[in-house]
């Protein structure tokens, strides 16, 4: 699964912005609609998309495409350690 692509698409859908505006460098400081409400929507959508669960206390740290992709990869690898990357 192409994690960065899915993450960018999900962020665009949740924030209701064109997908071209979301890049690997996007984060809550450079995307206008990515506020605390947006963060909640993004987290919940990603949990559904990837069938994972973030920990309550890490949610406020995952405020960029990069950190989200890294964390999702970690969680997916934990679920099925023998899956192909």
């Amino acid at each position: 699964m192409d994690i960065p692509n899915v993450v960018c698409l999900t962020i665009a859908q949740e924030l209701d912005i064109p997908v071209e505006h979301v890049t690997a460098e996007s984060d809550s400081t450079n995307l206008e609609k990515w506020d605390s409400l947006g963060q909640l929507q993004i987290i919940m959508a990603l949990e559904r998309k990837f069938n994972i669960k973030f920990r309550t206390f890490e949610i406020s740290e995952l405020k960029s495409v990069r950190t989200l992709c890294d964390r999702i990869e970690q969680l997916l690898n934990r679920q099925s350690p023998h899956a192909d990357r």
């Binding site: 409400l37 909640l40 919940m44 669960k53 920990r55 309550t56 206390f57």
Partner: protein
Amino acid sequence: MLTDKKRIPIVQMMLFGILPNFLKILSLRFRGKTIGKRVKIGYGSIVLADNLTIEDNVTIGYGTTIRGQDISIKRYSSIGSLVQIDVKSVRIGEDVTIRENVLIGGNPTHESAFEIGDRSHIGISCRINTSRRVSIGSETAIGGETKIFTHGSWQSMLDGYPCTYAPVTIGNNVWINWNVFILPDVSIGDGAMVSAGSVVTRSVSGKSLVSGNPAAVKIPPGMYPREIDSSERGEIVRYILHEFVEYLKSNSLEVKSEISDDGNRIRIKDKSNTEFCVYFFVSQSGYSPGNIAQDAAVLLSEPVPDDRIMQLLKRNIMLLRLDTMTRYGTNKVGEETVDFLLKYGLKFKRYRENNN
């Protein structure tokens, strides 16, 4: 005029409001009103009603007027200063807090009524118009500067302008943030959240999150809140207790924190060197009543048998059950703990015998 139009009952405030508390209480009881124990009605405040019940431990601030035909305020509720409640029928639950400068009333009709459930909260300077019934559930907070209207009328109906009169119903465990505007004929379902500054023009489903002007659904019904793993609950409690320790230390108390697999123990020494303890047990098996200091507070995640509860209460231990969110007993450190846990949304029902 046939009906009373006075906005502020100045005469009664000057004559009756300036009396000391105990005289006010005596006078109300003398006139057949049911007033509980340890009720405090502040300087300049008056309560005027044909049928009045104020239960134990209710406090009312200064300069507040509460006026109506049928008024009932349940135990431990706290109404702030400079509050004006002017509604025919008023029902206030237990442990309700109404903050300063709140106005409840205005433009009365035969259907005017106000009720608010247990452990709910109305923030500073809210304006709640009760032309029609305003009903607020339990454990619900209305953020400061919020306006709730049950009517919309000014221009003449005979000229074709609209005139609306309709009730507003807000469910249980709802969070209305600060500076929200709620229009007539709106219902807000249990567990919903309305974000700050929103204008709510249509009903909101339970367990949803709405935001904006006009308020639109951002997180659909049933999807909010986000579900957390039960394994996280213990971690969250420990985090909150850690914050509690820092808070106590910042208030110049000497605090020692001990953490084990079974739970936490916090030992607090006040200025007179008296020690108080707060315990958190992850499971029942981790504790026995004999090992708990007198006058302590105990947080438990699992059910407790009645005889164990009685043993703890006999030693003036306050018990906080996290499974049922119920509190038993009272003591100094327990009240401090409950007060702090409220900062993280934890609200405890007071145990009532024969009421589970």
